[in-house]
């Protein structure tokens, strides 16, 4: 035993904890080792990747200390074990997947005692790693790898010849450990972050809608942009509601990382469920607020939920602390009334106000998250002004999404994640010209399109009810004709002749006269609701031509 060794002989294995280390400066290394020591702190090592660095360190240590084996084991915190990470002369240890519980065996004790330990005779020593004995190692020296007071692993060397490692050897090994530990930790943290980022991005993607619903009258576009180096909790959603209405949602869960993304998933699902229950926007936000406060996690989110009625262009929305919607028309863009309550998850029993706006034919409603407009150290107004400028006059929803992201997101990526969703209410055509699969489900869509057209044409509520009924009945007949005849289509056209609506419903089937006691309602309705009904059946199909004067001049 060399001088400076503390006499803590540990029974048969002659294990010793060595005192005096490089950091304590208890012992200066011998002059002939100065050059060797430099080889361990060589700045050139910094250029190496982790793998190469560790291997190079092991090679240099082996040469300096003239040992036969060298190994770096890292702490697996989850299992409280040490796992070989880089080895020289002990390759089997990695191949066999050796794991050493902290506190047991040689390396396990180095980690537990956070001090250099040497074993001068392996015979009878507490050794967990079988490879050490199999290789015929006679003596071992190990030091802990420490970063900021935490043991992250163990570095040890072994000799096939009988040998007594001393404090001077420990100093060299500790120097190597000091070189390796921070590099390992950096790489580990990086890998962990990278893993979390990748995991969170995948999670978030899985939580956002895969595809937006096919809407008939309106078109919707949306984009999600993850942050440069973090995952956030932004989301958007589009739901189709009874009566041809559309629910549009956007939200931003406070915080970042996997937790925010997971919470976002819960929020999105909950909002979707409340929306499908047909609740008004303010109620949806109140329920969402209650739901969020009932979860054990403390969480907060800003949300807008809007219900759009394409037939009338009426938009009803409520906002929980979210930036205001933007309304984009051919001739400009403007911010909507805030109509805002507190973010959900903040105050006890939040209540929300609803605002109503008109989304006219040809206009587009834009919702977004604050990542789009926020620039650190800048007033929010400036970001909003930039957004309004960028959006001006662009009513095509896909183009709008692209342009605003292009204009507002820095080329190196956003520091916060961004979600945008745009809904376009297209102009109403002069002549309505629709084609549908002959399926019962198309009738509702037909009625919505027709009502929208009729409103612009100047129909009164009575006109709307009458013409919609007559048209839908004629179309229902076309659908019934098509049954069993394979895929078939029917066509509906509507146009104005002075103040008369001229409606044509055409199919390729045979008109079927009503049968049974209650079967005649359809034709009765058509004839009662319209001024004129003309049913022409030809070999190539049936055409129902109907007229009604609209605007109250019955």
């Amino acid at each position: 035993v060399e001088h400076g060794a503390r006499g803590s002989e540990d029974g048969a294995d002659r294990r010793q904890v060595l005192v005096g280390s490089a950091s304590e400066g208890a012992l200066s290394p011998a002059p002939d080792r100065a050059a060797n020591l430099y080889r361990l702190s060589d700045p050139g090592l910094s250029d190496l990747g982790l793998e190469a660095l560790l291997n190079e360190l092991l090679v240099r240590i082996s040469e300096i200390l003239e040992v036969d084996t060298a190994a770096i084991l890292l702490v697996d915190e989850e299992h409280g074990e040490l796992v070989p990470r880089a080895v020289k002369g002990l390759e089997e240890a990695i191949e066999r997947g050796v794991r050493i519980p902290i506190g047991q065996g040689f390396a396990g004790q180095v980690a537990a005692e956070r001090a250099p330990i040497t074993i001068v005779d392996l015979e009878g020593a507490d050794i967990v790693n079988p490879v050490l004995r199999e290789r015929g190692i006679q003596a071992l020296l190990g030091v802990p790898l420490v970063v900021e007071g935490n043991v992250i692993g163990v570095l040890h060397v072994g000799s096939l010849a009988a040998r007594e490692f001393g404090t001077a050897d420990a100093v060299v090994l500790e120097l190597a450990a000091a070189r390796a530990a921070p590099a390992i930790e950096r790489a580990r943290l990086f890998a962990a972050l990278e893993g979390e980022h990748r995991g969170a991005v995948a999670l978030q993607r899985s939580l956002l809608p895969e595809r937006l619903p096919d809407l008939v009258e309106t078109t919707v576009a949306a984009r999600y942009l993850p942050a440069r180096d973090e995952v956030g909790g932004d989301w958007y959603d589009v739901v189709t509601l009874p009566g041809g209405r559309i629910g549009l949602a956007i939200g931003d869960v406070a915080g970042h990382g996997v937790r925010a993304a997971a919470l976002m998933g819960q929020m999105r699902t909950a909002l979707r469920a409340y929306a499908l229950e047909n609740h008004a926007p303010a109620v949806v936000l109140e329920l969402l607020d209650r739901m969020l406060r009932a979860t054990r996690e403390r969480a907060m989110a800003t949300v807008i939920y809007a219900v759009i009625e394409p037939e009338t262009g009426r938009v009803t929305y409520a906002s929980a602390g979210h930036p205001p919607p933007v309304l984009v028309g051919e001739d400009g863009a403007r911010l909507m009334e805030p109509a805002t309550g507190p973010p959900v998850g903040t105050v006890l029993d939040s209540t929300y106000e609803e605002a109503e706006i008109e989304l006219r034919a040809g206009e587009t409603l834009l919702l977004y998250t604050d990542g789009l407009i926020e620039v650190r150290g800048e007033a929010l107004d400036r970001g909003l002004a930039r957004l309004v400028d960028a959006a001006e006059g662009i009513t095509a929803p896909h183009t709008l999404c692209e342009r605003i992201l292009e204009a507002l997101v820095p080329s190196e990526g956003a520091s916060d994640d961004i979600a945008v969703v745009a809904l376009h209410n297209p102009p109403v055509p002069e002549v309505l010209d629709l084609r549908f699969q002959a399926e019962p489900e198309t009738l509702a869509t037909l009625r919505h399109s027709l009502r929208r057209w009729l409103r612009v044409a100047g129909a009164t509520p009575d006109d709307l009810a009458a013409i919609t009924l007559a048209c839908s009945e004629a179309a229902a007949n076309a659908v019934e004709h098509a049954y069993g005849a394979g895929p078939a289509m029917y066509e509906v056209t509507a146009q104005m002749e002075d103040s008369v609506v001229v409606l044509r419903v055409r199919d390729r089937g045979q008109w079927r006269e009503p049968r049974g006691e209650n079967r005649g309602h359809g034709q009765l309705i058509m004839r009662a609701a319209m001024d004129e009904v003309d049913i022409r059946t030809a070999e190539r199909g049936t055409e129902v031509l109907m007229r009604r004067r609209i605007g109250g001049a019955a």
């Binding site: 489900e441 009738l443 839908s472 209650n518 309602h521 009765l524």
Partner: protein, 116 residues
């Protein structure tokens, strides 16, 4: 898309089902099942509230007749609530069945009749 929503409850001990949304040949069978299932054998009758029904066509009107017939067989009565000016009112008027079906202006009026 489902297109409609049925709310079932009771008012003064009378079963009250209200139909929201649109009823046409695409969902009429579903509506029938939902409403008929809600009416127990013990009930005197039922009130079907169409005041918030945005659309009902001839298929829906046929359903109303079927339901009335079905209840009659069990000794139960059906009252419809169809306020003037509502979309359902227009449909029933154009079909000429406002008088044939027992139509009332308000839920209260319909419920009061079935309680008596």
């Amino acid at each position: 898309m489902i297109g409609y929503d049925v709310h079932v409850g009771t008012q003064d001990g009378v079963l009250l089902a209200s139909l929201e949304g649109e009823i046409d040949m695409a969902n009429v069978d579903l509506v029938r099942t939902t409403v008929v299932r809600a009416i127990s054998n013990e009930a005197h009758g039922a009130v079907l509230d169409l005041s918030r029904t945005a659309y009902i066509d001839s298929a829906g009107i046929t359903l109303l007749f079927h339901m009335r017939e079905r209840l009659r067989v069990r000794g139960q009565e059906l009252r419809l609530v169809v306020p003037p000016g509502s979309p359902a009112f227009a449909a029933l008027r154009y079909a000429g069945v406002l008088e044939t079906l027992d139509v009332r202006d308000s839920v209260d009026a319909a419920v009061a009749e079935l309680r008596a």
